[in-house]
Amino acid sequence: MADYRQMWTSLGMDLENHDKLCEVLPEVYTNVYLSQDNRPEGMDYFNFVVAEIHGVRPAELIEHQKKGGKVFGTFCIFVPDEIIFAAGGIATGLCGGSQFWVPGGEKVLPANTCPLIKASVGARLDKTCPFFRIADIYVGETTCDGKKKAWEILAEDVPVYVMDLPQMKRAKDIAAWEDEIKLFLAKVEETTGNKVTPEALGEKIKLINAKRKALARLHGARKNATLPISGKDVLLATQVSFYDDPTRFIEQTNSLCDEIEGRVAKGEGVFPADTPRIMITGSPMAIPNWKLHHIVETSGAAVVVEEMCTGSRYYENLVDETQTTLDGQIRALAERYMKINCACFSPNTNRITDIIRLAKEYKVDGVLDTNLKFCSLYATESYNVEKALKEAGIPVMHLETDYSEQDAEQLRTRIEAFLEMLR
């Protein structure tokens, strides 16, 4: 990694602690990623992004701030990035996916909080992640209880704006989300000092749609019998999409897609032909949480689709691009975002419909229904998910885990047994 110490110091980071994180990441990355055979060359870009994870992109964000631009840190795929970019701001995902940050979160949060929340709060309070330092403002949402209360704790340390997400999907709820987006737009304008014009918003709607399409294309390459790319690599690209520059990400991902589609045409896969095809569904996997994918793909199976926020929920459904007024555009945004099937909604039967549809589209042999420990939403919903999958004749196993490595061998045994069952 190039030397970014001065940048980190000026961000007020705890360098000593941060060094420890920088020490372990390359080793983990080599083990999990670089050890894979026959990776597409297009993954080089993502290797570079990870190698420089706390350097290149943070430097770009700081550059943007020097020119008077603002950076918005987000935690949930319901927050409409289009608005932020249309006001000349930059949106960057902040969800923490490393055990490294969990103890920091536990200083202020109950131990029985999901690791994603603990890691996110810890990354901020322990000053060990540049993205968490750079963001001018955090955008939270009223999704699960843990997050709602975490915003209050974070707000003591950093400006936090919270969007009120409805928990049902009736017409009045979609209208309520439309209103929330309007309020958010006003907040973004106030923070950036820029007006959002219909032209700018129209352009950014197209941009973010293009990002969704690139992700859909990348994920969709795994619908083929020949798997040209590992699930781990697709997960990584998806995680990177949350904080990379959208235009560059779209370019890089599309060229990766050109390459892997070429592989499909030649029948050149990264797994043997009869490899069992697995879907993972459940709570999100923030970078660098690669745990389950790694276990599955080193146990003789391939992850071919993720029904999760770091997966299909993020890229499916596009925003209507034909609207020309702000009101029309905001309505279109509200309609698209309210199609996301997160377990914080009741009922959430459309998620189950999605899972079964994706299982067919990607010809999966089995589903791993997972949740982060103490994520009661996805843990509880798993009852209905399993029931529906069993009724549809699709093998399913539920797994609960966190970011620590202590249960890795137990998980491996369960996953191997599940795969043996599929044979």
């Binding site: 093998p395 249960d407 061998e409 137990q410 045994t413 369960r414 047994a417 043996e420 069952m421």
Partner: protein
Amino acid sequence: MIAVGIDAGSTATKAVLIDGDKIKALIRPTGWSPRQAGRDIYAELLNREGYSAKQIDKIVATGYGRIALDLAQQKVTEITCHAKGAAFLLPGADMVIDVGGQDSKVIKIDPKGKVLDFAMNDKCAAGTGRFLQVTAAALGLDVSELPEFSQVEKPVNINNICTVFAESEIIGLLAQGIKKEAIVAGLHLAVAKRVAAMVKRMSSGKQIVFTGGVALNHSVQKYLEQELGTKLYVPKYCQLAGALGAALLGLEV
């Protein structure tokens, strides 16, 4: 064809050799190195039964130490092996309940012993042999003494699922003058309830094989039968189901 199955468990390593209709078995403590335990038990079994290594066509390893068993040609999880072994021990079985020292599992199987579905508790000591070990110690007893202590008394209710809290609950019960017998029976009932809950989540089988170290405890068996409303079949060599299944799988390919 001659096959050997080795089940490297956390406390005991088991080996089963199948040669036609002859079945030979051995159980030894695992000790600190599953790899060494696997080699030793293999050598001892062959030696005792008069086989040479050249005669063995296939070695299959299972159990938590299977990864370390470098002498095996094939490694299969204990879930698949238990299913296979149980179907052999009780032809027609449709479910296996295995309660071991560290974990418990419930496996639905087809008539050939293939896994149809399974559930596993490996995160928490409740509903495993470990729960009994720890709580027995709080009573000043050894686990092996537990069955005789629970013969007569009506079980007292143990409210805590967590092993650590159950331990302090027991101390409280003793202080109230509750008899040891009633407490022991209560502990057995607590384990049975936990395991039964796991079974019920999957819908109970009709012909159930009960294996693992805890299956040796008749009192737990009785309460589990009560909770499930059905009889359980406890094979004589209930600890060997995994190694037996591994050997059977070795014969298949």
